[in-house]
Symmetry: D3
Subunit: 129 residues, 6 copies
């Protein structure tokens, strides 16, 4: 169960998703995330289609979206996601200094999040609207 589904061993539903991922990203293989998720072809397709749409260029650039993705993955403690989306952020143009600054923000947000929770700070009236 906890083994990757390689392209050659995949059924047509899974291959179709792999093909779309490889075509959109211009890569020759998909990441482990997809290969492990492929044991559930329904979820594979649902996640892929939603992720593709959510991460597309829009009001926020793909680069900024990846930085946010990595930041959330750090906060959620997902080691795989930190590694894979960190690489994606760099591939989409985030410089080492951008990554450093992103990590500084994540770290300070975690510190102040803890303090706001610890002090049970009530929301200011002007932020309630």
């Amino acid at each position: 169960m906890t083994t990757p589904v390689e392209y050659d061993d995949a059924g047509p539903e899974v291959r179709a998703v792999y093909d779309e991922i490889m075509a959109l990203r211009g890569v020759a293989d998909v990441n482990n995330f997809w290969k492990y998720l492929a044991h559930d072809p329904v979820e594979l397709r649902s996640v892929w289609e939603t992720l593709r749409d959510v991460m597309a260029d829009g009001a926020l650039s793909p680069e900024v979206k990846e930085l946010i993705y990595v930041a959330v993955s750090i906060a959620n403690g997902c080691d795989y996601c930190v590694a894979s989306h960190g690489a994606a952020a760099s591939a989409k143009g985030a410089s080492a200094e951008m990554m450093n600054e992103m990590r500084r923000v994540v770290a300070m947000a975690s510190r102040t999040n803890a303090l706001a929770t610890a002090l049970r700070v009530p929301v200011d009236p002007q932020f309630q609207d």
Copy 2:
């Protein structure tokens, strides 16, 4: 203890920090976060100085930094921080559509973070370097 320290009741160390916050932000009062943290003037100064530096313009814009801050606050479940930094993001230029897209990314990252953890996906060799 869980009451805000208002400017008029604050000692000189606390007032000095409040003055710096109000001057840099061009506001007439500080948020509840600072007023509740002010019972610990040492931490108040430490947090303020670090936050000021971390959130300053750099390789990432203040706007992008605030979006990351809100994203982390959502992941950490800090209601106060979601409210206050959401307002800050808007004040620094984030449009409603940018906020929508940031939330979509946070939500999908949370979904895929859960799946990667659930499936115990091993990190791909190319992400280990």
Copy 3:
């Protein structure tokens, strides 16, 4: 300290718990979780007795309880627990499709949890009672 306590090296309090676990589960050895916890025989007994009672057949079947256990372990990011209780869920009768559906629910709950927190949605009056 961070080494397992094997049966042959264990004192009588620890052996007694190991014996109960092996007898109830019909296995020849206990999992690493118990062997590492055994450095604290007081906690070992407390956790074992409570877990045994909580996971017993009741209004919910042992299978459903294990699915809930895995779901919580995913949300809490406990890799060991995802692995060991995933195996336990299968052993108690959860099919691969049940596991897939459980993971889909966990993933979507994580997505909507993030959105509800992000949007600061107030609880509907009908849910307050």
Copy 4:
């Protein structure tokens, strides 16, 4: 921004989703979650369609899926979701005793998750496959 979008004020895309929710659930209004999410009609539709499919009857009953949903929401600390999906679990047939047992499992999983993390327990070889 943080106000609900009521049906009468909603555009056609949002109304269409509201109509589908009300029809499937046989209710006269939608919950606050949807009304706050409706400021982002794209995400509203995406979340609704995925949630509808994920929570449908399958290898797991809708009742068990709701219990898992509540369990994850507790672990993620989402107060709104605990309230709304707790009500949904009851509506779909979960008895008070089932809810009690679910909560006992969540609580003990949280305790043992913490212990496994604290003790840095290595995954047993038989769980690695």
Copy 5:
């Protein structure tokens, strides 16, 4: 369901636990936590007995144990627990300065936890033993 069980309305199993709590703590009533948990008398007794033993004087003082309890509650984002165990810590002798220092530690631990996760720092060999 989400209402407190007051002493006068409680059955004998619940009253027995309430009596033990009030006797040990020298108080005239129990906190809301117990009154809401009392809808599940089995869990009520299990939690009370374990908590009583875990929080008793030992190698760590009750005061230090409460400080750890509050710290964990902050990290887990449990508002009720931060409030109730914060009060308990003070009642058991923790000064305002101790509380300040505890919060500083929690906040910095949260910051460095995030950084260690972000940087995927491998455990040093000397910490593996």
Copy 6:
């Protein structure tokens, strides 16, 4: 990027911090945490100076502060931090029994945190002040 910065390869800003850490702690090398953080010399100095001050002797002893640090790291699921600060706690005088008791508190706090969240317990009026 995800490689340690060794002393011999470090620039003067990084070496200065390493020197301070080694001098204060009386050790011949710094931990991996610092070596991975050193790719961002600004954050390296900021974290080191704040951590040094926060963890110094005060109203709470360094030993108790380390116990709180480990407790938070467990709750946040940071494996590296559990390992390194567990070692630090022992080095500063925490006995095996103290570590056991700390872990028992963390585990029970996690259990009751989950229950308080699950039951949506309102804060008692006497804890609101």
